[in-house]
Symmetry: D4
Subunit: 252 residues, 8 copies
Amino acid sequence: MDVKKILEQVSMGTLSPEEAGEMLKNLPYEDLGYAKLDLHRKLRSGFPETVYCQGKPDQYLADIFDTLYRENGEVMGTRATEQQYLLVKERIPGIIYDPVSRILKAEPEGKERKGCVAVCTGGTADIPVAEEAAQTAEFFGCYVDRIYDVGVAGIHRILSKREQITRANCVITIAGMEGALGTVVAGLVENPVIAVPTSVGYGASFHGLSALLTMINSCANGISTVNIDNGYGAGYLAAQINRLAERNCYTV
Amino acid sequence: MDVKKILEQVSMGTLSPEEAGEMLKNLPYEDLGYAKLDLHRKLRSGFPETVYCQGKPDQYLADIFDTLYRENGEVMGTRATEQQYLLVKERIPGIIYDPVSRILKAEPEGKERKGCVAVCTGGTADIPVAEEAAQTAEFFGCYVDRIYDVGVAGIHRILSKREQITRANCVITIAGMEGALGTVVAGLVENPVIAVPTSVGYGASFHGLSALLTMINSCANGISTVNIDNGYGAGYLAAQINRLAERNCYTV
Amino acid sequence: MDVKKILEQVSMGTLSPEEAGEMLKNLPYEDLGYAKLDLHRKLRSGFPETVYCQGKPDQYLADIFDTLYRENGEVMGTRATEQQYLLVKERIPGIIYDPVSRILKAEPEGKERKGCVAVCTGGTADIPVAEEAAQTAEFFGCYVDRIYDVGVAGIHRILSKREQITRANCVITIAGMEGALGTVVAGLVENPVIAVPTSVGYGASFHGLSALLTMINSCANGISTVNIDNGYGAGYLAAQINRLAERNCYTV
Amino acid sequence: MDVKKILEQVSMGTLSPEEAGEMLKNLPYEDLGYAKLDLHRKLRSGFPETVYCQGKPDQYLADIFDTLYRENGEVMGTRATEQQYLLVKERIPGIIYDPVSRILKAEPEGKERKGCVAVCTGGTADIPVAEEAAQTAEFFGCYVDRIYDVGVAGIHRILSKREQITRANCVITIAGMEGALGTVVAGLVENPVIAVPTSVGYGASFHGLSALLTMINSCANGISTVNIDNGYGAGYLAAQINRLAERNCYTV
Amino acid sequence: MDVKKILEQVSMGTLSPEEAGEMLKNLPYEDLGYAKLDLHRKLRSGFPETVYCQGKPDQYLADIFDTLYRENGEVMGTRATEQQYLLVKERIPGIIYDPVSRILKAEPEGKERKGCVAVCTGGTADIPVAEEAAQTAEFFGCYVDRIYDVGVAGIHRILSKREQITRANCVITIAGMEGALGTVVAGLVENPVIAVPTSVGYGASFHGLSALLTMINSCANGISTVNIDNGYGAGYLAAQINRLAERNCYTV
Amino acid sequence: MDVKKILEQVSMGTLSPEEAGEMLKNLPYEDLGYAKLDLHRKLRSGFPETVYCQGKPDQYLADIFDTLYRENGEVMGTRATEQQYLLVKERIPGIIYDPVSRILKAEPEGKERKGCVAVCTGGTADIPVAEEAAQTAEFFGCYVDRIYDVGVAGIHRILSKREQITRANCVITIAGMEGALGTVVAGLVENPVIAVPTSVGYGASFHGLSALLTMINSCANGISTVNIDNGYGAGYLAAQINRLAERNCYTV
Amino acid sequence: MDVKKILEQVSMGTLSPEEAGEMLKNLPYEDLGYAKLDLHRKLRSGFPETVYCQGKPDQYLADIFDTLYRENGEVMGTRATEQQYLLVKERIPGIIYDPVSRILKAEPEGKERKGCVAVCTGGTADIPVAEEAAQTAEFFGCYVDRIYDVGVAGIHRILSKREQITRANCVITIAGMEGALGTVVAGLVENPVIAVPTSVGYGASFHGLSALLTMINSCANGISTVNIDNGYGAGYLAAQINRLAERNCYTV
Amino acid sequence: MDVKKILEQVSMGTLSPEEAGEMLKNLPYEDLGYAKLDLHRKLRSGFPETVYCQGKPDQYLADIFDTLYRENGEVMGTRATEQQYLLVKERIPGIIYDPVSRILKAEPEGKERKGCVAVCTGGTADIPVAEEAAQTAEFFGCYVDRIYDVGVAGIHRILSKREQITRANCVITIAGMEGALGTVVAGLVENPVIAVPTSVGYGASFHGLSALLTMINSCANGISTVNIDNGYGAGYLAAQINRLAERNCYTV
């Protein structure tokens, strides 16, 4: 029984205020069924739900993609394998798989985008994480400017792209090893920088820990960090910032 | 000699192209003197420079505050001591010191603000870091909504503030110990969440490491992390996001 | 306006079900003021609220103790200093301070207890943590059997107390350095063992990390671990288990 | 020669008190043979012995299962492989293997259970650990309420299950990544919460270390932690607590 | 009542074998009072008990020293402060305090020693730990050869002492920073080497962790490690080895 | 258009100083295309670019080798696989692959070398890293003296090579496990020592962390450290030092 | 040229004291050739050289075994694979391989042993490390008493073996997970205890780090620690101690 | 008796070659007394010995300074306190103390220098470490170019100094927090870069660990790292490189 019905019964006198009070006590929690959750979530975040494919059982995965695709008219999954792609493809023939980013998605044609996010990497080995970030931001409505292999050991590389990164509403910097790219970029731009450490490196990089610490300790202003190799998280956050930056544009 | 003069001399024939080439070779780097830096920085970031007071020698400190105050008409320092406040006060009588946030600042009256940032803490011991964040965001032009002592061990506390945090352009969540507040908040709002781990705790909190790892590993979307106790960094970043969100408002 | 009043108005026809629905929508969250929280919390957990004194501002502290004491007729604080004791004493003259456990409390005389918790320590240096645990368990209604200085380097010591620890509804084992006491005890008893690592030790004890890892990795059955030096947490948990164990006793 | 015989001989004068003293000196230790151990252990803990299958040599394993099954009429092993299942099946045809929990067990039909333990997970990837916990608790006589995929990034999910978790004698919360579920749950219930960190996650989750630290640092009351992925340990401990809670029920 | 008396009563017929059996059942555990422990311990280890002074309450400390001194005719404490020395001196006027090793001891004159232990340090800052080791070994009956400031950065220093270290029954090597002394020494001698890491160093020495890891990873044969700064532990172990080495000497 | 052409046009009057100024403004950054980078880099560092083969996509790799080989007349790659060798060989038939060092290189015959670098290892398992270092130094123009298996657990081994290491302009010491070789060597020579920790070892060597800490904490003068297993980095740095040491030799 | 010849020439006047001084300057180092090393080492340590097989190239391995076997009449290698066994067997047909300990050895029949070392393990999974320790000690002349699966979670197990461990000249305790066995044993015996942490465990055992810390922090007297899984190191050290303990036995 | 005298006696026939051989056998080791060590050391390294003052006992310190000053005509100590300065000053009136670098030194006037070392810092808080490095390099004969406060968060700062750092024989880069300066500098120069992490920072800088990892993981060529805050070590190494670079200059 939902709130509306309870109130109607109180109004009609078939339920006393005391009885209704007891029934309402836990309602805002208990009355939430599974299907309702998703709609609520969409209302809350403004972005449709996505799928973290890694380790999802095969049967589950196809169902989840199918349900979300039918409901939202689009669907995106991250960290998908080739084999998962083939599986989902049987249900959603138009689904597309990118082996670099490992993103699996189906989108309507001509989806509108506005605002720009720049995605920079220190080296070429960081590109898979960068593509996860870039394609996530695109899925959530951003234009993306890819600026790859501009690590600070050859500082002229990022400097030569200064104009591009300055234009973006948000810059994602992705680097492994010593991970210093974010600090240099944050010193050059006025908009937020999201730093993504990657597990690229060896020895004392400790699978991305060194890069993570570098970014967390950045002495630049306007920089924050997400988990190692978390391109999706950076892309999502960049899309949120980009959406805020562009929200009043149509009123001009 | 600057670029313009070099080019005029080449045009007049008093300098050969070869000689000019040699002179121009290192110019974009060398031509930057100290005073120019600050102006350039202000142009780049849009926010005036601030002072990290911790460990600054006394003589230095007063000069830096004085210079920045005269140039920008306002100045802010973080992690200042009572003793540093007294020192700077001799030069800038109107400077104000807040012993909780340890912020030392002088601002013009009636400074304009727009847009709102919410600052939440898990407990009362996180308030000093929260005030550093809040006052930084205010200094850079935001309204701030303070929502303190709403840690997830009593989940109704943050839930009861849901409307407030949903309204903000950006939410800063500040917590020590297990540091789970950010994840819950990011699940409730549609705008970016900046998580600040604090060194509050004991034993296996390892001076904030536990909270930092919690935040970096958050399974919520739209959350990123700054250094332990780095209220300033969170406030600065929130102000950047808020500025983007509000930038087109006056054109309506 | 609270739920009861809303419902009465609906019943009286001064509020339509639709209007009431709107008002109730966010109620379970927004309607909770500060004082209400505590009552709700007490209902939830069955134990009155306590105060973590460390770092609490002086003014705050006395108010909190006073409020809780008046409401519950008893109050307990942990990690209190001598100076905090003197402060609170001005407001609650009968408050008692134990410098070993650093517990500050006021209780009614003749408070009922039932069921027994055993508190064991590896060495004498662990006693402050043990007393925090023991007095917490006592405050929440347990009898406590103190068995101190029975570390496993002299195994006969704990073996000679086997009967006592077997009788307890729950055993708290407290140890620093290598922290092996919990494993031996869990192998001897049939009831739950709560292990508390302490920061006692030096060198590679890393302020309790070594003991914590020992306890977490225990190969015994029926053991779990709380934070380093967290006597309060162990005492609280033991009191919960003891309450469960004793709950049906009076029905016999 | 056992104590009784020694004493009889002293009584009969065939052994002097001095000789007997020498013989008794080490007796309580040396007199324990292998077979006696198991019986003693069962008496001590009240639960039959189980088998940790991982890494056990094939020959050993079948013998151990067979012996325990014949002695106790039931047997349970954890972390078993498919191949180990086939091996043991040759000896105990009725043995059952669950590939999710990797539990291998043979139980009499209609085994009595009483009292309820709730097992909650943050995500679906935590389910294998949760099933190890749940089936262990069931093996040791509990009813289990499974509440999966209720992580705090979507806080309404666990809130909607509040009634269920409140009813349980003990709640096991299982989560990887930031692992904050336990704190929220412990804030909602009055009975003990056992937190199990899992190795689910990537990057800075450090194979469960992040979740472990979160749980150990929980600021909620009434929570303790077991090793990463240690579903068995949580299930065993929950069964101990449940047994205590239910022990006097039949006397009503 | 002790074993001897029980047996005498059985022998005299004043106690039946059955009654005696019941009394003896738990005896080896329960019958151990505080004073008895020490005697048993001395029998077990062959060395009298010592006192770890750090953090011991003042009242306790004097009693413990007094009791042990009266019982054993000698007493030794480690990590004592000047203030503790003055306290104990009131009870044992002949007690001697060494501020370098922080050892507090009273010994009979002309105590016999045999066999030799060598104690080497990498630098002069390691001497306090070395003296704790050396004086401990002397207290337990060894001659000690002190070879200080022979770190491997000037390899000729330890090489020039080769003959001395070869003669010792056991060599204790004590070093901070990179802690490589033990490996070089173990490569030169045929007897066991005990390595003691010290907290001497700064930066990445992490309070002795670096030296500890060096020693644990030593590729030399015949080396083992004790805790950081644990001179006492090394001295005790060396005395055990020395005792074994010398035990048959008098039979020649 | 490059700087030279711009200046010629200004000189010829076909470009005004103002127009040229605008074009030059961002030139040092923007005007750098891919090929130009390499030339600039070569000018800066004096050494041709090399290729880090690990993880490079196949198509990329062959192109990069080909381009660099044609431009510089020589090329070197590190961490190459057998399969990558075969791939590149199709484009550069004369390329040579060394499976020990995993270096892939093509050099002109009779390449000039001068000055000597010594490369020492603690054990034979360190040789792959040592060969990476040695062959890198040779590629950049050094003579290399290989001194392998001279770990400090048998100190006479390195001592017997004292003359050789003393002669070198720079000594590279490579060791895993406790990694103490560098300290001993730095104590014997007057020239710089570069220490390379290796991942050789097990248990508490933590994949080279122990050796890294040893080297960073070395109490010897004149020693510095590179990443775990980074033979290339050590070889490059040694070649820089050797070049400095030999730079004025021909003027004698 | 060796010292004797130099001195003879000085004596004969064919070499001046100055020339001889120059020649002698570096002699004690340079005069050591490879073959001499091994003899010297044997003289130093009293034990023949052994082979660490892991990672040794095939060709190398057979040569090393062959050389050592011919020289010493016996040879032992650790961490050997089945495949290495087959390889060496072609050269030394009588060589024996034990797949549990992974020891490969050839010994003369009827090799003399004296003195006893006890080897204890916490669980059955520690047996491979224990066998490496036991067989190493046997190879170096000890009798070994194997006491397996006596972990402290069932404390009666080790207590029932007290007499055996008390008899040994040295006790090796081997345990993973929480690794508490060594402390209990050291509290029961008077001779040295060598603790070996193993990588047995999961989750927060961190591949043996937890057990290592436990052992290093042991509050028992007379215990020291070797690297994780280093059975060989413990066996070698035990044999050294045993040799010292037995050295004067034959003189009785 | 030293080598020369022994040889003269052999030459004179007053000592037989056999006797002399015996005397010389251990000479290079045993004959080294304290004073002799220093002379040998000076011969080996080419630089006079210095004093690490931290923790040195007062009496010791003055003697050491006095001895070295008289022998070498100059002396330098690091990490000295004001109080140590006053102490040494009584013995060496001309000694100079710099409270920033904490260096205590006495040098002859007009000491010759050649070659240049650049010392760069990320911020002003790194200056104490930088001065230790700079003054050490000066003491050992280098000119030093100080380039402070050029951290990469404002990249133009270091770029504007490119010419200066390119001229140096060696560049020392000193930075705390994320420590990225070294990588950028190494990408700009052709000579070696020595990176010094500092303990400047807070939170996740972990007292310099973050900066250390950044530097060790640098993806630039030609960079190596010393311990946290080890300005002395960097200055010494730079002086060694500078000496090599300048050694042939006078022959031109």
